[in-house]
């Protein structure tokens, strides 16, 4: 990815993130989150993670945030009243962020093992195709110089992360049951 594109999308993300916390109107905050997600999607696509980038827009910006907006409007959440920030809380927050930044700078300041991702040219693809059975969709697509990233991610998930994926299924079941339990309609009290 050209460097200026990285800075462009990173700036969009930062502005979006700052806007989320500084807006007082919840709808404006939610829209700012969408901006932040768009910047993130740009970064993913710039790193050749096309599938993740598209999913970021479709699922997060598209579905999740729209749901957020619905809920904000359904519950009719008003703009926040002026906040009384205590001096101590502000200082604590700023201190924590500063501490974290110093840590991060300290880690990133040293030379890190810098691994360049392989370029997505036909030769790399053809070489990668040898890891898969010849008659599979993935091998064919890679051999033709395409990037079947949805298939590749699926393949990885269902082979290398099979058990975690199934545990996730149980997790979703628990979350669904939990939502129903906590929010189902209260029956009228008999009195």
């Amino acid at each position: 990815m050209p460097q200026y594109l990285f800075w462009f999308f990173a700036t969009i993300m930062l502005i979006g993130g700052l806007a989320v916390v500084s807006f007082k109107n919840p709808v404006a905050s939610a829209i700012s989150v969408v901006t932040c997600f768009l910047g993130l999607a740009g970064l993913f696509i710039g790193l050749s993670a096309f599938f993740v980038g598209i999913i970021q827009i479709l699922v997060y910006a598209g579905a999740v945030m729209v749901l957020f907006l619905f809920i904000i409007m359904l519950l009719d959440i008003r703009a926040e009243k002026a906040r009384n920030l205590s001096w101590l809380a502000t200082a604590g927050g700023v201190g924590l962020v500063a501490f974290f930044t110093i840590q991060l700078v300290g880690v990133l300041g040293e030379p890190l093992p810098n691994q360049q991702a392989p370029p997505l040219d036909p030769e790399t693809m053809a070489a990668a195709a040898e890891n898969f059975r010849e008659d599979t969709r993935i091998a064919q697509s890679l051999g033709e110089g395409g990037l079947p990233d949805v298939h590749l991610i699926g393949h990885k998930l269902f082979t290398e992360y099979n058990l975690p994926l199934q545990i996730l299924g149980v997790l979703l079941l628990v979350a669904t049951v939990g939502v129903v339990v906590l929010s189902k309609r209260q029956p009228e009290r008999e009195s």
């Binding site: 030379p111 992360y161 099979n162 058990l163 996730l168 997790l171 628990v174 049951v177 939990g178 339990v181």
Partner: protein, 490 residues
């Protein structure tokens, strides 16, 4: 039987109960909890018989690819048995607690909304069992989240009770924050070692030139796990959530969630704390600082508490401090010597026995005297001397009095620390033990030397609670002198 059937059976049991609960019309939902406990007891027996691929290499299943995600050794078996036992006991506690559950979910007398409480605990148990067998960070993370998300619901279950809802919101927000730390840390660890598999870590470590990114990642993961076990710097949620959550949930949190956090911590740190690892020294310093801070904060903040559940919350922080001390004094298991994982496991086993016993009694005091303050225990010795005696034994064990299970656990931790030469930490731990005597025995004083309020209920335990308390008190005393059976399991 291959070990991975255990979790599958637990999840199957949970789904079966959910369906049965939805379709079988019944006024009294206690059967859901009782059949959950019965089912888990059956699985508990199977857990003793379960084997891994190293035990039966000739079998077909021993070469299945499933073992790439799943490991089964003595520690894993121990923690599976631990999770199952804790869940069975907490389910029984919940059955006796269901009057209050009904009161704050629907209306008193209707148990319509209490049926899902039990299956959720079963799912949390499955998460803990998977965690004990996780051998890569992705699997461990998913299992941890299964436990945590079940707990979010269990904490906020009393939806007509403002305290429970407040506890739920606090737990969700801080839990999400800690999860963010955990994931970010795992990303850094993956970025610097290039692998998610814990068994590949030593190899990656030996080839590593710059350990700083790895240390950064480990520190972030420690913050995330610190939330699960209730250690500094993420201990802030414990008192409020313990106080607000329904008592069986609190008991489950303090035993199950803590054990899950520690098995994750041990599995995760094992490669980094091994002899010859480049980050060993720094990591031990870091753990010792965390352990010291946790011990000081938990023990000293517990002293002024008047709410007994809050007090138990701080006491749970203090116990996390002792357990962290055992991890900081890291020693792998050798011939005839107990390693840190074994000591942590033993300490947790004694902690389970003592803490669940106390919570069984607390749950009934909450129902029958309608409160959880230390003053609600006033004069218990006059109204029900047997119960007061049991509670006295349990409190003495929590404080670490000799001849009780709590003493052996603390003794093992201290001897590990002495051998590792962590003298400043040992000093802090002694202060902690001293403070512990003060605040645990405060309750004993209330029971024996203060007169009961004139209208105080005598507090009689229902059948299950009584059986459980008698067993747990007996175990506390037996394990205090005869603790070999638990060590044999490890």
């Amino acid at each position: 039987m291959p070990a991975y059937y255990l979790e599958a059976l637990v999840v199957f049991l949970g789904i079966l109960l959910l369906i049965a609960e939805a379709f079988v019309p019944s006024k009294n939902k206690s059967w859901v909890g009782l059949s959950a406990a019965a089912g888990l007891t059956f699985i508990l027996i199977l857990a003793f018989l379960a084997v891994g691929p190293q035990d039966r290499p000739d079998k077909d299943w021993a070469s299945w690819p499933l073992w790439n995600f799943y490991q089964f050794d003595a520690v894993a078996r121990f923690f599976k048995i631990f999770s199952l036992t804790a869940t069975i006991l907490v389910l029984l506690m919940a059955v006796d607690f269901r009057g209050l559950l009904a009161r704050f979910t629907d209306h008193p007398g209707s148990e319509e909304s209490t049926g899902e409480y039990y299956p959720l605990m079963v799912f949390a148990c499955a998460g803990m069992m998977w965690l004990a067998s996780a051998n890569n960070l992705a699997g461990a993370f998913v299992a941890v989240e299964l436990v945590t998300i079940s707990f979010y619901v269990l904490v906020a279950y009393l939806r007509r009770n403002i305290g429970s809802l407040e506890a739920g919101v606090k737990y969700v927000i801080l839990g999400a924050l800690s999860t963010a730390f955990l994931v970010y840390g795992i990303a850094w660890v993956f970025g610097s070692t290039g692998t998610m598999m814990l068994s590949d870590m030593p190899e990656a470590l030996s080839a590593m030139e710059n350990t700083r990114p790895l240390l950064f990642g480990i520190a972030l993961v420690l913050v995330g796990i610190g939330f699960k076990v209730g250690a500094v710097p993420m201990q802030g949620w414990i008192p409020d959530v313990y106080q607000g959550a329904p008592t069986p949930t609190t008991a489950f949190l303090s035993v199950g969630s803590k054990a899950a956090g520690f098995i994750f911590l041990i599995r995760f740190l094992e490669p980094f704390l091994a002899e010859g690892s480049p980050v060993r020294g720094q990591l031990i310093t870091l753990l010792a600082i965390l352990a010291g801070a946790t011990l000081l904060l938990g023990n000293l903040a517990a002293i002024p508490q008047t709410n007994f559940k809050r007090l138990l919350g701080y006491s749970s922080i203090a116990h996390a401090g002792f357990l962290l001390m055992a991890v900081a004094a890291w020693r792998p298991q050798g011939e005839g010597v107990l390693g840190s994982p074994q000591v942590v496991a033993f300490y947790l086993a004694t902690y389970l026995v003592m803490t669940l016993g106390v919570f069984f009694i607390l749950a009934q005091v909450r129902i029958q005297r309608d409160g959880e303050e230390v003053s609600h225990f006033n004069g218990l010795a006059k109204t029900n001397p047997h119960l007061a005696f049991g509670l006295t034994v349990l409190m003495a064990a929590l404080a670490g009095l000799p001849l009780t299970a709590g003493f052996i656990g603390k003794f093992l931790v201290f001897s590990l620390a002495v051998q590792a030469g962590l003298w400043p930490l040992i000093g802090i731990a002694f202060i902690g033990v001293g403070a512990g005597f003060y605040y645990y025995l405060k309750l004993v004083r209330a029971m024996w030397w203060v007169d009961p309020a004139p209208d105080a209920a005598p507090v009689e335990l229902p059948a299950f609670s009584r059986a459980a308390v008698v067993t747990l008190v007996a175990l506390t005393l037996i394990l205090g002198v005869f603790f070999q059976p638990i060590l044999n399991l490890l």
